[in-house]
Symmetry: C2
Subunit: 215 residues, 2 copies
């Protein structure tokens, strides 16, 4: 295991899920062992970058052998906190909320959607992906009774901050935010991860423009 260094850069954190995906593919393909050189090539990094990344968490490689794929895969899962399941609720039963409720990859990684909530009376009581849509009023009791740690915010921007603050009060520890705003949560106990879809397509647009200008 080794000691975990204090500061892990955002770039390293961004690479961890990619390592996990690649190692999963290697395992599926029956690869049992990989050198840092081979892994780095697959990841588009240098071998020393790969070694440095894992050194933050205690190494895991053996000189002259490389990495055992299965145990590195487990270690990365542990680092990512996905060696244990997460109970997830989705706030907002609109198109994005429904798409996420139906997304098979979350379940596969141990993120179990166990409740969907909306404030629209026309939606409450109907079902998405086998889940009955609950009223927002049921949130505090549901969160407490079902040991929910992650809430997905799939509601409009104008409602997002207020709902996020309520969720903090109800004991949610992580918010996965799809609303198009950076939630300035005052609660230091709560972690927010933003998925700004419009930011992402704008980055694509930026790169297209930038490429045109160079040509």
């Amino acid at each position: 295991m080794g000691e975990r260094n204090d500061y892990i850069s955002d770039a390293v954190i961004r690479r961890l899920p990619r390592y996990y995906r690649y190692l999963g593919e290697l395992l599926q393909n029956g690869v049992t062992r990989i050198s840092s050189g081979e892994l780095s090539e697959k990841m588009g990094l240098t071998a020393s970058q790969v070694r440095q990344d894992f050194n933050h968490f205690g190494g895991f490689g053996q000189q002259g052998y490389g990495y055992n794929v299965e145990s590195l895969y487990s270690e990365v899962a542990r680092i990512l906190g996905i060696d244990q399941p997460h109970n997830v609720i989705i706030i907002g039963a609109g198109h994005i909320g429904a798409a996420l409720a139906n997304y098979p990859n979350f379940e596969k990684r141990g993120f179990h959607v166990i409740g969907i909530f909306d404030n629209d009376p026309a939606l409450i009581g109907t079902e998405i992906a086998g889940h009955v849509i609950h009223a927002d009023e049921e949130l505090p009791v549901f969160i407490r009774d079902n040991a929910i740690d992650i809430a997905v915010l799939a509601i409009p921007k104008v409602q997002a901050l207020k709902m996020a603050e309520l969720l903090c009060d109800y004991g949610i520890k992580g918010i996965w935010n799809f609303a198009s705003t950076d939630l300035e949560i005052v609660n230091p106990d709560v972690i927010v991860e933003n998925v700004h879809l419009t930011d992402s397509i704008m980055r694509l647009s930026y790169k297209l423009r930038n490429k045109q200008e160079r040509e």
Copy 2:
């Protein structure tokens, strides 16, 4: 306008859409002028970082005045390539594809979804968000006739690479990839921007675990 420096880091590119969002909010609130200090505070950056970011693109600020919000907003739009509209198609009419077709923010930013495609005979001919779902076979003609520059890949991972290669052949310049794989596109003319939703929720899980361990 000024000269555009050669190398723009990924971190700067990631901040550009955030600047755009913040400046849009300022405009909406009737703010006409802002200092780099105020803008940096809103963004969670230092004032010198803000100035450096914009210096990559020629500056735009005036000593002792700060930034004119409206003109900075337009400049950022131009840098992001969203001062002109983009014609977008969505490949895959499943839950994610449907959610994206229904997402109002894209239209607002000039990303016009003008076609949806699927290979499922049960879906072809039905409608999503007012768009008839076309068969994949129609892609080459549709892309050519409608000056499509961006394709959204909302199909399973196993089909993604092959479809991406076809799209390149058909003349697509940008791929917004929702498939859970890094597309190793061989075509240097095509830009891929990945949205790995599972990576994102794993980063949230990482931060939750990391926080637990420190407590």
